[in-house]
Symmetry: C2
Subunit: 218 residues, 2 copies
Amino acid sequence: MNQQGMLADALRQQIIDGAFAPGSRLSESAIAEHFGVARNTLREAFRVLSEQGLLEHVPHRGVSVASPSIADVIDIYRARRIIECTALLHSEPEHPAVQQMQESVLAAEAAAQDALLDDAETWRAVGSANMAFHVALVSLADSPRLARTYRDLAAELRLAFLKIDDPRSLHEPFVRKNRAVLDTFLTRGAAAGAEELERYLVQSERVVLGAFARMRLG
Amino acid sequence: MNQQGMLADALRQQIIDGAFAPGSRLSESAIAEHFGVARNTLREAFRVLSEQGLLEHVPHRGVSVASPSIADVIDIYRARRIIECTALLHSEPEHPAVQQMQESVLAAEAAAQDALLDDAETWRAVGSANMAFHVALVSLADSPRLARTYRDLAAELRLAFLKIDDPRSLHEPFVRKNRAVLDTFLTRGAAAGAEELERYLVQSERVVLGAFARMRLG
DNA sequence: CGAGCAATATTGTTCAACAACTTTGTTTCG
DNA sequence: CGAAACAAAGTTGTTGAACAATATTGCTCG
């Protein structure tokens, strides 16, 4: 891959990992120097990430890390429900992605097990495993376009999570629920699984919106 | 707006209008000169359009206009069905977007009326009105993200249409069907409308795939 | 304190150059 | 003749400097 592609990927990972706070401005010269690339090269990467919804670009004011509002969170969850539930509803348990879902559930459970003390790093790992579970779930649909759209949605949602202080309340409840969705899908079929997933997502949205409200975030 | 933003919009419009054949390569120096901008500026626009799926970027080989394969068409229609049918299913007939749907239907009927002779320009107008109808339909969902995703899907599909010689067979059958979907939605409710829309989209996909097969397109 | 204005900083864009790579064309050898 | 090897040419990738256009800051003045 060329420098630009690697740059966009590296920036993307750093943003998702919370290296820059949501809403914070990214200076072209500073970031370019930090990565050791020219401004023009960085600007191409900025365009890519802006299209993906991770950065917000305002003419003559530069780019900032996206900072999802309550309205954004609602929109993201609406799209999530449509994509995820549809994917699961029309799927067969023999699909290879089921294997990846299994592994993600186990990874999340293992990471949550380690979280005896509220360690931000640990909960980030739980969050990553959770995200991997849902990405795998969407890949059940075998649709590159839906997968790509979902990947961008998940990244945006991650930025919303970063605005919230209490990572445990965001991640812990869903370790068990991921397993429940998977088990229901495997034992009681796609329709039952999709129904459970829908409830899951409605509740997850409520948790996030509640946290936003408590913190008085826009 | 910026030069870059205007440039991306202009290029986008030209591509959708078929100024460059699907699959054709776009030389950086040639296009930059054509628009009177620097190569660096053009490259930023290229990144934007690549993310939107209109251009395909291969490192060290430049960008080409996307040329949807049969697999792409199938994927696009799968995503279309999910987004459009979900949008219509959960909608109320009082939504302001219904007005735009009405207008698009009338525009398509008026344009098709003029097409006594098989005029490519006329069928392009019918196609635009048809596209506007479906964009308006998706906007029933009041979801910026779904609307944006759908806009990109529709643009890609337009490139698939450009690969097909016979525009009449692609556009004419759907003028009446748009009206039928709208009427069903208004008189028999969202569920019946969504059902009719689903049939519509399945048939539309079949028409496109049939044309691809007849022309032996990948 | 607030409005207006100058100074400063940042982004937008261009240009020229060179590096990295692909494609093309030619030569050479089996 | 055909295929592999190699050289030449063309395109993209990236850089650094420069300047224009716009935004932000800080200051002066009323």
